[in-house]
Amino acid sequence: MSATSAPAPLVRRRAWSPGRRRRFLLTVANNAVLIGLAIAFLAPFAFITLTALMSNSQALSADLWPHPFAWHNFVDVFTKAPLWRWTLNTLEYSILATLGVVVSSVPVAYALARIRFRGREVLFMIVLIALMLPPQVTVVPLYVMWAKFHPFGFNFIGTLWPVILPNWLGDAFSIFLLRQFFLTIPEEYLDAARVDGCGELRILSTVVVRLAKPAIVAVALFSFLYTFNDFFLPLLYAGESPHHWVLSIGLSEFRSLHQVQWNLTMAATLLVMAPVIVIFFLAQKAFVEGVTLTGVKG
C-alpha cells in the first residue's frame, strides 16, 4: 500500500504569464542595448584620453595603451601653443555675446508674446525666417561691410568684434525660445501688476524676468555653449590674426603649427571640452529644461 498521504503541498510559484515574460525579456533587451550604446558613446572619450597620455611617436603608432603615461602633455600644450590666449579670447567672445543676447532678446520676446499690436504675427514669422536662414547667405556682404567700416581707423577684420556685436541686437533663436516661454505666463500675474500701477517696463523687469528665470538661464547657457564652440564666424573674421583666435580655430590649426603632434592635439581637445562638461554638470537641470523648452512646445 503506497502511503499516498499527500505531503504538505510545496509552495509553487505560478509560472509567469506570457505577457509578463515578454515584458521582462523586452526590459532585458532594452537595457542591454542601452549599455552597448553607452559604451559606444563613451568609447571616443576613452580613446581621446588614452591618446592624450601617449608620447608623440606612440600616438602615431598602432598602440592602444600609453606606455608610459605622459601626464606632462597636459602641461605641455600650454607651452607649445598659446592656449591661454585662445581661452581668453573665447571667454571674451562668449561672455560678451551671451550678455548681449539675454539683454536684447528678452524685451523683444516679451513684446512678441504679451503685448498686442498690429503686425505682431508678421514680425514673429520674420523671426522664424531669420532662424531658418543659413548664415552663409548673408556672410559675404556682412564681411564686406565690416571690411570697409573703419571708424577712427579701427579695423574690425582681424578682431572678434564683428562676431560679438550682432548679439547685442537680438538673436532669433533666443527670441523664439523666450517668446514660447513668455506665452505660458498667466495673464493674471501681469494684470495684478498692472492694477498695482506698474508701467509695462516695470512689469517686464520685475515680474516677468523673475518668473522666466529658468528660461533666461537656459537661453544664456545655450548662447554660451554655442559661442564657445563657434568656428565659422570667428574663422572668417579673426582667421588671419592668430592673436585673436578662439579655441576652436586654435585647435584645428594646432596640427599645422606643431606638425600634427596628435598626443598634444588630443590633450588640448580634452582641455577644451572640459569647461563645457563641467558647466553642464553644474547646471544640468537648466540645460535639460532649456532643451526641452525648445522642442516640446514647438
Binding site: 571616443p44 548673408t138 559675404v140 509695462e200 565659422f232 562638461i277 553642464f280
Partner: protein, 333 residues
C-alpha cells in the same frame, strides 16, 4: 440738471474714454517700439541689408579691391554650366540632408524610447548620451578623424583583431560622408533629450486604452507614441534640415585634417577642401572657398542666392507636407 446738461455730461466721459484709449494705444505702440528697437535695428543691419546686398552682388564681379563691376547673369551661368565643383557640392549637401538627418532623427528617437522604458539608471544613461553633444564640433571632428585613421586609429586596430579589415574611413571618398554621419550620430544628445521629454509626456491613458485593445509594444509605438509626438518629430526634422544646409565646421575640419595627415603643410593651402576627392565638399564649404579664399565675392553671392532659394523650398515642402501627418495636439486616432 437739465436734459441737455445731462447728455453733455454723459458725452464727456465717452470722449474722455476714447481719448484715453487712443493715448494708451499710442503709449503701447511707443513701448513696443522701444522693446523691439534693438532687434529691428539689428535685423535691418545684419539681415535685411546683407540679403539685399547679396542679391545685388550676385550680378557683379567683386574682389573687394576694385569696385563691383556689373556682369549680369555671368556668375549664374558659370555656376550652372562651368564650375566643376558646384554640382558635387550640391549633391554632397543633399546627401547629408537625405541620409544623415533622418538617421539622426531615428537614432535619437530610438534612444529616447529606450530611455523612457528603462527604469533604473535612467539619469546615468541620459548623461552619457548627452555628453558628446557638448563636445565642441572642432574637437569632436579632430578626435574622430584620429580615431578612424585607417592604419593607426583604434577602431581599425580593434576591427583587425576581430579579423575584419576596416574601411579607409575619412581617407575613402565612399566612406567620408558616412564617417561624418557617425560623428553626427554621436552628437544627437540635444534631439534625444527633446524626444525623451516628449515621449514621457504622452498621456498614460492612451497606452492603457491601446493595451486594452490588444496592442503589443511595437503597435503602441506606431499608433500611440509616434502620432502623439509628431509635432516634435517635425520640429526635429526641420532643425536637422536647417543644420544640414549650413553644415560647415565638421566637413571643413575633417577634410583639412584627413588630408594633412601626410601632405604639405604651409605650402599650397585650401587645395584640400573636400578631401578626399571632393566627397566632403559641402555647399557652404565651397561657398567659403570661392568667397574668402579666391575672393570671388560676386560669385559667392550667387551661390548664396541659390542656397537661399533651396532653404526656402525645402522648409516650405516640409511644412506643407506636415499637415498630412502631424497631429496638432489632442489624442491620436
Amino acid at each position: 440738471m437739465s436734459a441737455a446738461e445731462a447728455s453733455v455730461s454723459a458725452a464727456r466721459p465717452a470722449v474722455d474714454r476714447r481719448r484715453a484709449r487712443r493715448r494708451s494705444a499710442w503709449r503701447r505702440r511707443r513701448l513696443v517700439l522701444l522693446l523691439l528697437s534693438p532687434w529691428l535695428a539689428g535685423f535691418a543691419v545684419f539681415f535685411g541689408y546683407p540679403l539685399v546686398m547679396s542679391a545685388y552682388l550676385s550680378f557683379n564681379h567683386y574682389d573687394l579691391l576694385s569696385p563691383p563691376r556689373w556682369v549680369g547673369l555671368a556668375n549664374y551661368r558659370y555656376m550652372f554650366t562651368v564650375d566643376p565643383q558646384v554640382w558635387t557640392a550640391i549633391k554632397n549637401t543633399l546627401w547629408l540632408i537625405a541620409v544623415m538627418v533622418p538617421l539622426q532623427v531615428l537614432f535619437s528617437f530610438g534612444i529616447a524610447s529606450m530611455l523612457a522604458r528603462a527604469k533604473s539608471g535612467g539619469g546615468f544613461f541620459r548623461t552619457v548620451f548627452y555628453l558628446p553633444a557638448l563636445a565642441p564640433p572642432v574637437a569632436a571632428t579632430l578626435a574622430f578623424v584620429f580615431i578612424l585613421n585607417p592604419s593607426t586609429g583604434p577602431v581599425n586596430i580593434i576591427l583587425g583583431h576581430l579579423g575584419i579589415t576596416g574601411p579607409l574611413w575619412f581617407q575613402d571618398p565612399a566612406w567620408s560622408k558616412p564617417s561624418l554621419t557617425i560623428l553626427g550620430l554621436w552628437g544627437v544628445g540635444n534631439t534625444m533629450i527633446i524626444f525623451l521629454a516628449a515621449v514621457l509626456d504622452v498621456p498614460r491613458h492612451l497606452y492603457e486604452s491601446a493595451e486594452l485593445d490588444g496592442a503589443g509594444p511595437f503597435q503602441r509605438l506606431r499608433w500611440v507614441t509616434i502620432p502623439t509626438i509628431s509635432p516634435v518629430i517635425l520640429f526635429a526634422v526641420i532643425l536637422g534640415v536647417i543644420q544640414g544646409l549650413q553644415y560647415f565646421t565638421q566637413a571643413y575640419v575633417a577634410a583639412g585634417v584627413a588630408s594633412g595627415q601626410a601632405s604639405q603643410a604651409a605650402d599650397v593651402t585650401s587645395g584640400n577642401l573636400g578631401y578626399p576627392l571632393d566627397s566632403t565638399l559641402v555647399y557652404p564649404v565651397l561657398l567659403y572657398q570661392h568667397g574668402f579664399t579666391d575672393f570671388q565675392m560676386g560669385y559667392a553671392s550667387a551661390m548664396a542666392m541659390l542656397l537661399l532659394a533651396v532653404s526656402f523650398a525645402v522648409t516650405l515642402v516640409i511644412v506643407l507636407n506636415s499637415r498630412k501627418w502631424v497631429h496638432q495636439g489632442g489624442a491620436a486616432r
